[in-house]
């Protein structure tokens, strides 16, 4: 008899652990022919709250880690993505029916994007902050800081590149992040969360949920501990409602109506520029008098 394979249970990634949804729910993930290839956890609002709690605990440590250390850790994530690229390729290909070539291209772009953000950590302060030439005897610096806990939502597609594009900027900027993987194909998000778990990313700094946009995004928008909500390619009605809910806590919002077509996220320069980082930071001006007396 041929060997029976061991099938991976797809779980959430919260606080450095891999729990099932507390709700006990899963959703079938099917290939283009409708065959079920996996079951993903369907996170509940309670799972989201747990993830936010884990992120809030980890936020200070990550924010005060040196930018160099944050950069090295993100680079480590890229190293492990490279090591597990075949698995990432499969996670895209099996569900989405893309050609191996296209899936490979997407994985390579995703790794490169992570590398690029690994290089951002110790540079963004120079480009987004600086001296303020005030008219008086003061030494004034504007410095950037992470907002704290960030929620970020990946577009339906491209599943992996979209998630990396949503996740890497807030992480590089020093936020602890709760990310929602593509609802259409959560599997690359599951693999990425397994990579995050072994890449020296401190527990709770990156949390990855799989589940429904319609269920979780409104909860993200109204959660008061989340300081900023970013999302790429939300359905219009979800985006509008999220904006209205976020207003209640004056949550920062960065809703990008992407070009849902795949090429929309391929442009490396556009998705790795300063506008990709600005939504995830606060600017602080620090004043100090100068006087030799």
């Amino acid at each position: 008899m041929s060997r029976i394979g061991v099938v991976k249970t797809c779980k959430l990634y919260i606080g450095g652990s891999y729990p099932r949804s507390e709700s006990g729910r899963t959703v079938p993930v099917a290939d283009p022919q409708g065959r079920v290839v996996a079951h993903a956890a369907r996170a509940s609002r309670k799972d989201l709250r747990d993830a936010v709690e884990a992120a809030a605990k980890a936020a200070d440590g990550w924010a005060s880690a040196t930018p160099y250390l944050r950069g090295q850790i993100l680079y480590r994530v890229a190293e492990f993505m490279e090591a597990r690229r075949e698995e990432l390729v499969e996670s895209i290909r099996v569900v989405e029916g893309s050609t191996a070539g296209a899936a490979r291209k997407e994985v390579e772009r995703s790794i490169d994007r992570m590398v690029s953000f690994a290089g951002w950590t110790d540079k963004m302060p120079s480009l987004l902050g600086g001296q303020c030439a005030v008219a008086g005897p003061f030494y004034v610096m504007s410095v950037i800081e992470p907002i704290g806990v960030a929620a970020t939502v990946a577009p339906p597609a491209p599943s992996l590149l979209g998630l990396v594009t949503a996740l890497a900027p807030p992480l590089a900027a020093g936020n602890a992040v709760v990310a929602l993987a593509s609802e259409a194909n959560p599997l690359p998000g599951v693999v990425l969360s397994e990579i995050l778990g072994v890449s020296d990313v401190p527990a709770g700094v990156a949390n990855v949920l799989t589940g429904g946009v319609g269920e979780l995004v409104p909860a993200m928008a109204s959660h008061r501990q989340i300081g900023v909500l970013g999302a790429i390619g939300l359905p219009a009605e979800v985006a509008t409602a999220a904006g209205e809910a976020a207003a209640e806590s004056l949550k920062r919002l960065r809703l990008v109506d992407v070009p849902v077509e795949r090429s929309g996220l391929d442009d490396h320069d556009r998705w790795t520029d300063l506008d990709a980082i600005r939504p995830w930071i606060e600017v602080k001006a620090i004043w100090h008098p100068t006087s030799i007396a």
């Binding site: 690029s116 120079s126 480009l127 100068t290 006087s291």
Partner: protein, 484 residues
């Protein structure tokens, strides 16, 4: 000298057992020149010995690049430039990230070799030099695909001729190569005559990570090799770190050829302590400021200026602290002060020790423990009763020699601190933030450390005002030097 037993006020015995670094680094007895991706012998066949300054024993017969070799290296860099500058930025980045990672992998080997070749304590090469080298490559790797934030259409300068000193051999190589490569330039690097070995080890790493041949070429040799390189018609930019004397000659040569140039030259850094400073912390800052790397640091805080009311206290604490500085075997993990880099440098330091006493300053030397029979050694030294006109107060000694003077008012501190042709670094200690920051504003120096000293980071620009050179290394300013 492992038995140096500094006496202390408590009379406690501070002797430590020897803790020698155990890693044996295999040495290449006759290393070649690194040109076009491979090692080759010098055309004219000349070689010179590289010795361990702590033992005076030979480490290798290093190749001396002559005119034909420099030609080969510049040609290789020119040929490599065409593809390298057009390599997609993120691909260039990945080469630099690989270099950083391999340096981290091989850090212990590099640290031991750096210490053997240059004489610096293993504690410094292990905890400062080599980690900083890796960080420098890592930082600049990340810039490759972000140059568009500095220029609309970032283009490299071209082929860079880079000449580096012996005080931080591998770190200076990183400071030169990393930004140049990030911007798409190709390089010919000349290490200092007495410290070629770690640069050649870096060449091995460049091969390991499959950096395309010719992108970096390393030509070892003495001053003549350096002159051949900086005067070579085939290079587009010169970057030099070294003495002000040589720097002036290079500035003239580059002016004649209308060539881009950056220079990191000498210094005589003022280190100012106000009476309202945290004195114990200031004393630690002074110690690191002058006795880090045997004082062979261009930005050393070599001119101590102390507010008169606390002069006696600072000098007393300093003399006490000096007694616990361990001089000796650089490969011992407990050593604070290693060997002077060369006999010539030791002679230069001794000249100033004599000169200081002749001029009437009072010399305080730490410890009377025996120094090793062989090797080049100088104990931590402090001069008091120093006048600003003394040679030891004006000229760069480049050794573990501190001169202490006093001031009465803040205005006097500013004017005396700036009273030098140099302008590389300055330090100030005061618990009044407003005073420290205003003092920093008035310093004619490229780096000012407030309530700290000798801090370096690839994200922060380093370089001099006035005769300490021009151009910056590190930070956004440093990167721009390598963009056309």
């Amino acid at each position: 000298m492992a038995d140096s037993s500094p006496s202390t006020a408590t009379g406690a015995d501070w002797t430590l057992a020897p803790a020698p670094e155990s890693l044996k680094v295999p040495l290449e007895p006759r290393p070649g020149l690194f040109i076009d991706g491979g090692f080759s012998d010098p055309v004219e066949g000349r070689r010179f010995p590289s010795i361990n300054p702590a033992t005076e024993s030979a480490l290798a017969e290093v190749a001396e690049a002559g005119a034909a070799d420099v030609d080969r290296a510049v040609d290789a860099a020119r040929r490599a430039l065409k593809d390298w500058r057009r390599t997609p930025p993120l691909e260039r980045a990945k080469y630099l990230f690989r270099i950083a990672r391999r340096i981290q992998d091989r850090s212990r080997e590099l640290a031991v070799l750096e210490t053997m070749d240059g004489g610096k304590p293993i504690r410094e090469s292990r905890d400062f030099d080599v980690p900083a080298v890796a960080q420098h490559f890592f930082h600049h790797a990340g810039w490759c695909d972000k140059l568009r934030f500095l220029r609309d259409e970032p283009e490299p300068v071209g082929v860079c001729g880079q000449v580096i000193p012996w005080n931080f051999p591998l770190l200076m190589a990183a400071w030169k190569l990393a930004p140049a490569l990030a911007c798409g330039n190709t390089c010919v690097l000349k290490p200092a005559e007495t410290t070629s070995l770690t640069a050649l080890r870096l060449a091995e790493i460049l091969r390991e990570v499959e950096l395309p041949p010719g992108v970096v070429n390393i030509v070892t040799g003495g001053p003549e090799t350096g002159r051949l390189l900086v005067d070579h018609p085939g290079i587009d930019k010169v970057a030099f770190t070294g003495s002000t004397e040589v720097g002036k000659r290079i500035a003239a040569s580059c002016a004649t050829r209308r060539r881009k140039v950056t220079l990191e030259l000498g210094g005589k850094g003022p280190h100012v302590v106000f009476a309202d400073a945290a004195i114990d912390q200031a004393v630690e800052g002074i110690v690191s400021g002058i006795w880090f790397n045997q004082g062979q640091v261009c930005c050393a805080g070599s001119r101590l200026l102390v507010e008169e009311s606390v002069l006696e206290e600072v000098v007393e604490k300093l003399r006490h602290r000096m007694r616990s500085i361990r001089v000796g075997d650089p490969l011992d993990k407990n050593t604070d002060l290693g060997a002077i880099n060369s006999r010539a440098q030791l002679e230069r330091i001794r000249h100033y020790l004599r000169r200081g006493e002749e001029e009437g300053a009072v010399l305080h030397e730490s410890g009377d423990a025996a120094l090793p029979d062989r090797g080049f050694w100088c104990r931590p030294t402090l001069f008091t009763n120093v006048q600003p006109t003394h040679a030891i107060a004006r000229e760069e000694i480049f050794g573990p020699v501190l001169v202490a003077m006093s001031f009465r008012t803040a205005e006097e501190a500013v004017s005396r601190a700036n009273n030098t042709p140099y302008g590389l670094s300055a330090g100030v200690w005061s618990d009044k933030g407003a005073k420290a920051l205003e003092f920093a504003r008035r310093m004619k120096a490229g780096v000012v450390w407030c309530n700290t000293f000798n801090r370096f980071d690839p994200a922060s620009p380093f370089g001099g005002y006035r005769e300490s050179g021009f151009g910056r290394e590190g930070g956004v300013a440093g990167l721009r030097e390598y963009l056309a």
